[in-house]
């Protein structure tokens, strides 16, 4: 599969330079912002992936970031990832808060020397010309206790508003990242609202306002936001969620404990990805339990620790796969 055939050379070594000139006009809709970002990063040689088909809290959880940040093989991918933060649900009423929202995620490994310039050019591509807008890199170190990951970087401000996170990953799943990936995360709703001049997320045009069926963000999501808010805060069955959490944890462990050699094919197949799916599940179930208010302050740390243990174990397993560099020229000692 293409995922396993990462480019042989880092994207930075042969970027399509110079970065494409920004489009003269501004995006007209939410999806226009997404399409332009995809187009821009495709132009920089990134694989444009599709969202991961599971519930995650942030684009970082996509295995194309979490797992691919590890190991010696170069990587270059960009994708939109729907993300869920159950506690942020406001029934669709709040102008800025959503329990389901989109992130645009870019991961380049190794981080190219001109990553800041590329990022600025990407803002130009969505109508934010750095010669007209005040772009600032403000210290913000990133840490994910559930992924056992951290990095240094900035939150990027555009005219006083935070529009992206920019991080040089140092560790994921407890492993040093070598080479170091550069990660960009664009908060799409906020960014698009700014570019489009929308005051309420639900009022933002989703498709072209001149289309035969013009749809706003609210037309697409308001109904679901209300339903999920009720679900997250009151309706989700906590006993069942707890059980699912335990199941996901056990399944993750079981997959990782399976012998590396597949009895059916006789091949060495470490199941890092299926195990990591269970880790993602556990993480989302924890978020739901948290929104339901059934996790006390002291329990909280324990749950986070359990998810982190899974993430670490999955990272260990990934490094024993071919995609993680196992058996390759730069392979770490097995």
């Amino acid at each position: 599969m293409p995922e396993d055939r990462a480019p042989a050379t880092p994207v930075a070594a042969a970027p399509q330079s110079p970065a494409r000139a920004p489009a003269p006009d501004r995006p007209r809709s939410f999806q226009d912002v997404i399409l332009r970002l995809q187009d821009f990063w495709a132009g920089q040689g990134c694989a444009i992936l599709q969202p991961y088909d599971m519930e995650v809290g942030a684009g970082t959880f996509h295995p194309a970031t979490t797992l691919r940040a590890l190991g010696p093989r170069p990587w270059a991918a960009a994708y939109v990832q729907p993300s869920r933060r159950p506690t942020d649900g406001r029934y669709g009423d709040n102008p800025n808060r959503l329990q389901h929202y989109y992130q645009f995620q870019v991961l380049l490994k190794p981080s190219p020397p001109d990553l800041q310039d590329l990022y600025l050019a990407s803002l130009g591509a969505i109508g934010l010309d750095p010669a007209r807008h005040d772009i600032r890199f403000v210290e913000d170190d990133w840490e994910s206790p559930t992924l056992g990951a951290w990095g240094l970087g900035w939150e990027v401000w555009c005219d006083g508003m935070e529009v992206s996170q920019f991080t040089y990953f140092q560790q994921v799943g407890g492993h040093d990242c070598r080479p170091v990936p550069g990660e960009l995360t664009y908060g799409l709703e906020r960014l698009a609202m700014y570019v489009l001049g929308a005051d309420h997320v639900m009022a933002m045009p989703f498709n072209d306002p001149a289309a035969p069926v013009p749809l706003t963000y609210g037309d697409v999501f308001r109904q679901a936001e209300a339903e999920y808010s009720r679900h997250n805060f009151d309706a989700a069955d906590t006993a069942r969620l707890l059980r699912h959490f335990e199941d996901a944890e056990a399944e993750c462990r079981a997959l990782l404990d399976a012998p590396e050699t597949d009895p059916r094919t006789g091949r060495r197949i470490v199941m890092a990805h299926p195990a990591y799916d269970q880790c993602i599940k556990a993480s989302h179930l924890f978020n739901l339990l948290d929104a339901r208010g059934v996790i006390s302050v002291t329990e909280r740390q324990a749950y986070i620790g359990r998810v982190r243990a899974l993430a670490r174990a999955c990272a260990d397993a990934f490094l024993r796969t071919e995609a993680g560099g196992f058996g390759g020229p730069d392979a770490p000692p097995a």
């Binding site: 750095p130 010669a131 772009i135 080479p179 170091v180």
Partner: protein, 704 residues
């Protein structure tokens, strides 16, 4: 004499690290140069968001040749030792010197280090500085192993003299030093070469980079004041914020905007905090009304449209932020006007400490304590208790949830909104003070009562559960709480013996209170005394003076203790005072030795009729005069008077020691003299234990 210019250009350095990093670069490089034998005349370092720069003037062109002698093993040492020395020195056996001394013959190596050229030394020193740079947190990037605060992009390293400039050959992890740098990221991204520091700073200026942080801050300060003045406003001073902003921009462009009509009703501190914390805006105040009516934001760009888009964006973001703040404020006011019952109940849900109950439990204790100590601070007990009940309620407000630093200040607003007495509202804010050692101390009696009760409860609680500070660990800020008690008591001159207050508070602590026994209370009091010593030492009163006073009864009355110590310190700072201590110690030592030797305590029975020498009779007379004077002064708590009266014994006592031998063969006279000295000791002890004053104040202080 060449000059040296170094610039390390990187991606954005966190603002809070820049000043320290510039200083570290200066120190690491100049120390390294000096160590390698390359002195210099002057060095100055600078930081911008993207660069650290160092200019060294008057550097020696080369280091002086140096001769080094190393002592080796004895000539009779085992072969291995001699071989080791040869390896360490890089010499052969025939190049070693043999020198004889009393113990025999020893090898010496004489090493001639030739002088080295400056570029070689600079390259070595700079590479080491880069590789060992003490960033609080550093990172790797790309495929490299080098660590820097963020990716390092270029190294400029230039030695220049009248003959021109030369690049110092240097390469760190594939990054070769050169003579070029780059200007502002947007305005002047192309590389350009420089020939020396002056040229560097000038060209940077042309490339829209102000190198000096102080100059960036000054520009912002000046431009902000000008903009504000034009609108009849003034900039609310905030130096830390100004310094932070100066660390976020290489080319500060100041833009002003209004606080929109919808938000002008918000309390000034809310506007200011929201704008500072979220947006790093300076606040503009209307001097006539005290209202915050505008803001200044500092962009890093001279935009073609004059900053219109930037300002519009910032206004938009601010509107969203202030809408949130206004939403919190309106909700909070509704709760406050309804009597704040919701918040009172909410405090039950907040754990203060799992062994000390909820915030609600704690508020109950503080209220009881405030009521108890109210009379001693001159407050109405009911008001004090009511204020304590209200003081923590704003912790449940939405505004304080968003901006914890507004605790207390919001409490005051909400207490007023609830229609509570002004003294109660004031206490909601003032009881948090003093925070730092230089913070003002509240003086309004109700505020003082709550402030004291708050801190005493905290201290008693953590002492009860044995969570005392250890070493540098003080997670509950108990040292600060203790200093708060001390400053509240002293600044208000409160007569508040703490021992009974602490004893009465134990039962309020519930199950935990059982462990707050006499020993724990004594330990807490000792802790307070320790903090008092630190506090008074800063005010010039030596710790041994406090120790001397602590030995007197009633030391839990801190105000009295300090007045006693101050009076004593004043006397002791004069030579006569030191002399008094010396004489007292001599008397006390003689007594103690005699008592140890004889197994009795000499306490009374001194009789002038056994006085054998005129000096004794003078001392008797002086004591007869001093005793009532000291005692009545002590009763009146006139510690200066008591000390002065005691000091009048100095001459007679001195004369006594000059003239007579206490331990004479005549047992009757000896006992009489010892009893006489014991009268002096007893009298002095009423004031302080002068024996605890440290010796060395007088060269004969050790005399016995």
């Amino acid at each position: 004499m060449p000059d040296l210019l170094i610039e390390l250009l990187s991606e954005e350095i966190p603002a809070r690290m820049q000043a320290r990093a510039a200083e570290d670069l200066r120190r690491l490089v100049t120390d390294g140069l000096v160590e390698a034998g390359l002195p210099y005349a002057h060095a100055q370092a600078f930081a911008t968001p993207r660069r650290l720069a160092l200019a060294v003037e008057g550097l020696a062109p080369r280091s002086r040749p140096r001769r080094e002698e190393r002592r080796g093993p004895s000539t009779t040492a085992p072969e291995a030792a001699i071989q080791g020395f040869l390896r360490a020195t890089g010499l052969t056996l025939d190049r070693l010197e043999r020198r004889a001394d009393r113990k025999g013959e020893t090898f010496f190596a004489v090493l001639e280090h030739p002088g080295r050229e400056a570029p070689e030394i600079v390259a070595e020193v700079l590479e080491r500085a880069i590789r060992t740079f003490p960033w609080p947190r550093s990172m790797r990037w790309g495929t490299g192993d080098l660590r820097w605060v963020r990716p390092l992009h270029s190294i400029l390293c230039l030695l220049s003299d009248e003959g021109g400039a030369q690049v110092v050959p240097l390469s760190v992890d594939g990054l070769a030093a050169g003579a070029t740098t780059r200007g502002h990221r947007v305005h002047a991204p192309a590389p350009f070469a420089v020939s020396g520091f002056e040229d560097y700073e000038r060209r940077l200026g042309q490339a829209r980079v102000v190198l000096r942080p102080a100059e960036r801050a000054a520009r912002i300060r000046h431009d902000a004041a000008q903009l504000a003045f034009a609108r009849g406003l003034e900039v609310v001073e905030d130096e830390p914020l100004l310094a932070e902003i100066a660390g976020l921009v290489e080319w500060p462009v100041t833009l002003m905007g209004p606080v929109e009509e919808d938000f002008l009703h918000l309390p000034p501190e809310v506007l200011q905090t929201s704008m500072r914390e979220h947006q790093k805006f300076l606040s503009l105040r209307n001097p006539a009304t005290g209202r915050i009516e505008g803001f200044v934001t500092v962009a890093n760009l001279e935009a073609a449209d004059g900053g219109a888009a930037i300002l519009a964006g910032n206004r938009r973001v601010l509107r969203a932020r202030l809408s949130d703040a206004a939403f919190f404020w309106d909700n909070d006011l509704r709760t406050a006007r309804a009597g704040m019952a919701e918040w009172r109940e909410g405090l039950r849900a907040v754990t203060f400490h799992n062994r000390l109950g909820s915030q609600r439990d704690r508020v109950g204790r503080i209220a009881a304590l405030a009521r108890e100590i109210a009379p001693a601070v001159g407050a109405d007990p009911d008001l004090a208790a009511q204020a304590a009940e209200v003081a923590k309620l704003d912790l449940r407000s939405q505004m304080v949830g968003e901006f914890p630093e507004l605790q207390g200040r919001m409490g005051r607003h909400y207490a007023r909104a609830a229609g509570l007495p002004e003294a109660v509202a004031a206490a909601a804010e003032e009881h948090y003070a003093p925070l730092g050692p230089s913070d003002t101390v509240p003086t309004a009696p109700v505020s003082v009562a709550v402030a004291l009760a708050d801190r005493i409860d905290t201290l008693a609680g953590f002492w009860a559960i044995d969570e005392k500070p250890t070493g540098s660990r003080d997670p509950f800020a108990l040292r600060r709480a203790a200093l708060g008690v001390i400053r509240l008591v002293l600044a208000n001159g409160l007569r508040l013996p703490l021992a009974p207050v602490l004893a009465a508070h134990g039962p309020r602590l519930g199950a935990a209170g059982e462990a707050f026994d006499a020993a724990a209370r004594a330990d807490l009091l000792a802790f307070l005394h320790d903090r008092l010593k630190v506090h008074l030492r800063e005010r010039g009163i030596p710790h041994d003076v406090i120790d001397a006073c602590l030995a007197t009864p009633g030391a839990d009355d801190l105000a009295r203790l300090v007045r006693r110590a101050e009076a004593l310190a004043a006397v002791l700072s004069a030579p006569e005072g030191a002399d008094l201590v010396r004489l007292y110690k001599r008397a006390a030592n003689i007594l103690e030795q005699a008592e140890a030797q004889d197994g009795v305590e000499y306490s009374f029975g001194a009789d002038p009729k056994w006085a054998d020498h005129e000096s004794e009779r003078i001392l008797f007379a002086a004591l007869d005069a001093a005793e009532p004077a000291v005692r009545s002064a002590l009763e009146a708590e006139d510690f200066a008077g008591a000390t002065a009266a005691l000091a009048r014994l100095r001459g007679p006592l001195d004369g006594f020691f000059e003239a007579v031998q206490v331990n004479t063969d005549n047992a009757v006279i000896r006992r009489n003299r010892l009893n006489l000295l014991s009268r002096i000791r007893a009298l002095a002890l009423g004031l302080a234990d002068l024996g605890r004053i440290e010796g060395g104040r007088s060269e004969s202080g050790q005399a016995a």
